[in-house]
Assembly symmetry: C2
């Protein structure tokens, strides 16, 4: 086990009608906020009205910035920073999924920073002060409601880059599984793939002796694998939605990565795909992850056998351990297909035309990944397996 520092201080308020507590939570920080959200779904569902009512009951002044798109854009982050500065706003409430939360985090880091916000995403600067943010989660997937990272797309060149700092972790996350009843099936499935990828990016490591976190990873994966298909069959099942929502948080609050080298190669490859083709992150991961696995499984065969055995209940074939490892990858792929996700780039009408460009951008700051360091050639090979 490696040395580590871990702190995940976000207050989780989980349960039915939890959003009605937002006024009380925000009031502990300020009397004026930026209310940040995406498309019109929170208005259609009535969530917007309930949130505004709870905030106004506590006398909180609201300035709005809606319209965050999936793969959230730097231009909107810049707009948010401007609004906060002009209106002396010191708290951002994100109501939505990972895109809205990431956009809120980037704004929160950018407001007190004198340089260009994009510096945080290129490694030129690290945030020193970040405005506090709160979250009402509507789409369980990215874990951004507790995570220390934010991914933003710069339209100037279509670069999709993350920033990381413990200061980005939200002060509170309000999580009501009922809010996810109306999610389209495809979003539910993409969310499941995203959270599974967050677990697997940590699970497949070369760090030896990580018993506890291995098992915590397997526990989280098995829960998602059981409940995601149930949510598609029975979208209004509270308990099923609750299992998925809580799994998405545990998948990415940092606990599952404690003491181990993480990978994140698949995420970086996927970011290049979604930066260009604007696909949903979870769908891209459902394509890239199995391809990556097929390319690297021999580097830590034991861990891939364990994955098959413990997560997918594959019987270990002692005469042919490699086949056991491959069976786990096959079952993962089948699972993604079963819940309606693509598992090949061609399923999303993506050809090999821009592979070279993606592999180039993915590795332009050096190789990516932990289990195996991936150079440009490796990324190309993985994209070819995925095509």
């Amino acid at each position: 086990m490696q040395d580590f520092i871990f702190q995940s201080p976000t207050k989780i308020i989980f349960g039915k009608s939890a959003e009605n507590q937002v006024g009380d939570e925000v009031k502990q920080y300020c009397d004026k906020i930026l209310l940040h959200y995406g498309g019109g779904s929170i208005k259609r569902s009535g969530l917007y009205d309930r949130v505004v009512k709870s905030l106004k009951a506590k006398g909180i002044e609201i300035i709005e910035l809606g319209g965050v798109k999936p793969n959230p854009r730097l231009s909107m982050v810049r707009e948010g920073i401007k609004i906060c500065r002009e209106n002396n706003i010191n708290f951002i409430l994100a109501v939505g999924g990972g895109s809205v939360i990431d956009s809120a985090k980037a704004i929160a880091a950018g407001v007190p920073y004198e340089g260009d916000e994009w510096d945080f995403h290129t490694g030129k600067a690290n945030p020193k002060n970040v405005l506090p943010i709160g979250v009402i989660l509507t789409l369980p997937a990215t874990g951004s409601e507790v995570s220390a990272s934010a991914v933003i797309t710069n339209e100037d060149g279509w670069y999709k880059e993350s920033m990381n700092s413990d200061l980005l972790r939200p002060k509170f996350a309000i999580m009501n599984p009922e809010l996810t009843y109306t999610l389209p099936d495809y979003q539910t499935a993409c969310g499941a793939a995203d959270m599974m990828a967050h677990v697997m990016e940590r699970y497949f490591t070369n760090t030896p002796h990580v018993d506890l976190t291995d098992r915590l990873c397997e526990a989280t994966l098995k829960t998602i694998i059981k409940n995601a298909p149930l949510a598609l069959k029975d979208p209004n099942n509270y308990d099923v939605r609750a299992e998925i929502m809580w799994s998405g948080t545990i998948a990415h609050n940092g606990l599952l990565g404690t003491g181990r080298e993480e990978d994140w190669g698949s995420h970086k490859i996927e970011h290049e795909i979604s930066a260009i083709y604007d696909i949903t992150h979870g769908a891209g991961l459902a394509v890239v992850f199995p391809a990556w696995m097929k390319y690297v499984y021999n580097i830590n065969l034991k861990k891939f056998i364990q994955f098959s055995y413990r997560v997918w209940d594959v019987e270990v074939d002692l005469d042919n351990p490699e086949s056991t490892a491959l069976e786990g990858i096959k079952r993962l792929e089948n699972f993604f297909r079963e819940i309606g996700l693509p598992t090949r780039l061609k399923d999303m009408n993506i050809s090999d035309e821009r592979f070279e460009e993606m592999a180039q951008k993915c590795t332009m700051s050096g190789p990516v990944g932990g289990l195996k360091k991936l150079y440009k050639e490796d990324v190309l090979n993985i994209l070819n397996i995925a095509k």
Copy 2:
């Protein structure tokens, strides 16, 4: 799944020589501390010197209070409160195991409180302000390094009572598995039993649909079951000690209980035993827990079968599911015996002489436990199974 609020903000600094960072951590809070510890072991091991060196390097003034006993006493808490008030101390550093940490928490709650500290343990008052505390953990067992509770023994009548408040959670916990190499085997084993009990008090619940936390509980139990015997065989194995230490924290930071009714009946019964006989808490739990299980397993047979199947790899006997449940309890008992723990009261020379008194004190504020509400008669029955 039930609604819940969860926040476990303690900063964990985990790894080799981590104690040398204590000066930096404390410095973020104050320049003067109460250094609280137990017997002389931290002086013999050299830990005391390293801690003092790190603190002095940051110019931190130290007032000491050593001598905390297992089952920490109210009289020492009162002494600590007095010292802090007289010396204007606003931070307590606990160096030790659960007893030292619980004592520090009680002092931290008592200093700003005008009434009698014991009020917090009888439910007469809840702490509103608590001094910040930091921890250097030397004995993984109680999870007090992250938990929201403290258990204190009042010598006046030998009452052992807990207090609970999120304000009690330490600001930081420094965890170096190397510090546990020199633990006596019995303490290592008692620690394992204590953390397993913390998991099981949450695991055995009537709350339906708690897939994720069930599996997280099982993950933690399996890790302890694998590594505790290894630590006894190879006490200086860093990785084994690290798995145990991290498991003890995860067992009791609150995560495993999210969304479910917890039990705590076994803990309450054990507290009555250790209040009178001054035995080690973990040893008492190794005796009480299996007895409690035998008394209640029929109330949620499915959960006990799942425990056997998933935690102990018992094959499910579909013709006789009860035998599957009982096999799990038997394996738990065998495990406790294997690691050198008592599993009957007579193993600790405790007769039935004071059963009546213990059952009376245990239930004097009403029935205890969640899976089954235990009245005085039930507690007597469990003690009789355990004798």
